[in-house]
Symmetry: C2
Subunit: 293 residues, 2 copies
Amino acid sequence: MPEATLAAHGARVQARLTALIPGAEGELGRLAEAMAYAVDGGKRVRGALAIETAALCGLSQETGEMVAAAVEAFHAYSLVHDDLPAMDDDDLRRGRPTVHKAYGEDMGILVGDALQALSFEALARIDDPAVVPGGLARAVAGLAGVGGVNGMVGGQWLDLAAERGPRPADPMAHITQIQRLKTGALIRYSASVAAMLSGRDAAPLTGYADAIGLAFQIRDDLLDVEGSPEEVGKATGKDAGRGKATFVELLGPEAARAKAEALVEEAVEALAPFGEEADVLRALARFIVTRRN
Amino acid sequence: MPEATLAAHGARVQARLTALIPGAEGELGRLAEAMAYAVDGGKRVRGALAIETAALCGLSQETGEMVAAAVEAFHAYSLVHDDLPAMDDDDLRRGRPTVHKAYGEDMGILVGDALQALSFEALARIDDPAVVPGGLARAVAGLAGVGGVNGMVGGQWLDLAAERGPRPADPMAHITQIQRLKTGALIRYSASVAAMLSGRDAAPLTGYADAIGLAFQIRDDLLDVEGSPEEVGKATGKDAGRGKATFVELLGPEAARAKAEALVEEAVEALAPFGEEADVLRALARFIVTRRN
């Protein structure tokens, strides 16, 4: 069931993203084409979180889709930049060449830059009477925070620094901090931006999101060990090759799997205030720890 | 006079930027330090435009300073990324090593990314009763547009593509398009965002800004030919070395100088509706074509 819901939401997010990327000709058309390439594909977990939570918070379907486009464009920007040669130097993403492999390194930098801007544009285009005064300002400030020192950029820097430096004294605390910043912050935002816009209490949604964010990372670490590049759509076995500590290495695969499952239960319980309206979010939490890519 | 005003505005913008960059320790502190390095210095022409036009539009001084911080952080982000080895590969900026020379290429990418986010955060933090409903949305969408295909990113891509491709059939049209996107869009935004926020007519301000934006570029081209790296604070003679068409090459230095001066007169006239309240903006226009760096 969540796969079908994810696919349906994903198609709507894709249509929004396509509409947001400006039409252009000549060399500017090539830039727009590379942006479209970068946002194509993926599981759209963040977009689905945005769409489902927007509905829970009484926002319009259009608002949910615009917020979903914002977080998916932001996610795509971060992947394109993280894949660059000076960063993680990855050739494969979502089963295809990374943007810099397909279009050149300069284009990789520029596509990521333009997609970050596009995310804020998507937020600014929301037009919904259910958005409270100050709601847009909170949503914009929130996304900016995700993209800063105490979010994705900080997490990526800590991750890069860890590869070069000595092993940290407390590797579990260290990788938990990296997860919280590098991937957790955007997942939390995707699930709570609807609350910011509508002026509702974000606490149940952030509790849910923080649990699934960590479960998502543990599942990624398991797939890095157990999956094949064909199945996962990106290089696997990378973490061991780089000597990086992971949840699987520190806990062992069985305890890691058990922790991910416990986190899913925690996430499901956090949604109690919403009743059965939140069933898709519950199913999404379960999907996250069973997915194969 | 404009130098003193620029310096005073610049100091207030600097204080805002310093306050916006989060305090952090350890490796995150190094990231914050590199962000502070990137936003330090410069003429602050864009920030001065923002502060002066905010006052003309009845916005608070604090709002003017926040908008100035937003456009200066955005400008700094674009410089840091344009200087990267995969882009213009510059070693010197504002008289000091570029961010990637001082801190590494991965940090250069991340600092630019975080500064783009910080720009939107600055806009989102505006708290001013003179901002009309929908004003923030227009300001955010406007900055996002500057950072996209039809703004800085598109202009930088056209500029890079021009270095590799054959000489365009109409080089004057081509470099005018690049100027409009790569530098003109942010200058126009810096001078008109106050009108967006306050719901006023932006036409006199965009007329002024488009004229000084082009004059600014012509002056840059003249300094590239006539200035020394010590004086200008970045490498000079680059355009000829890269075989790039410039206004100075196409028009000749005398006609280029005359065109810049005519544009300043055009800019001054565009400000007629504001009377003497706009004298600082008029002086700024004149400064732009006489500056030595």
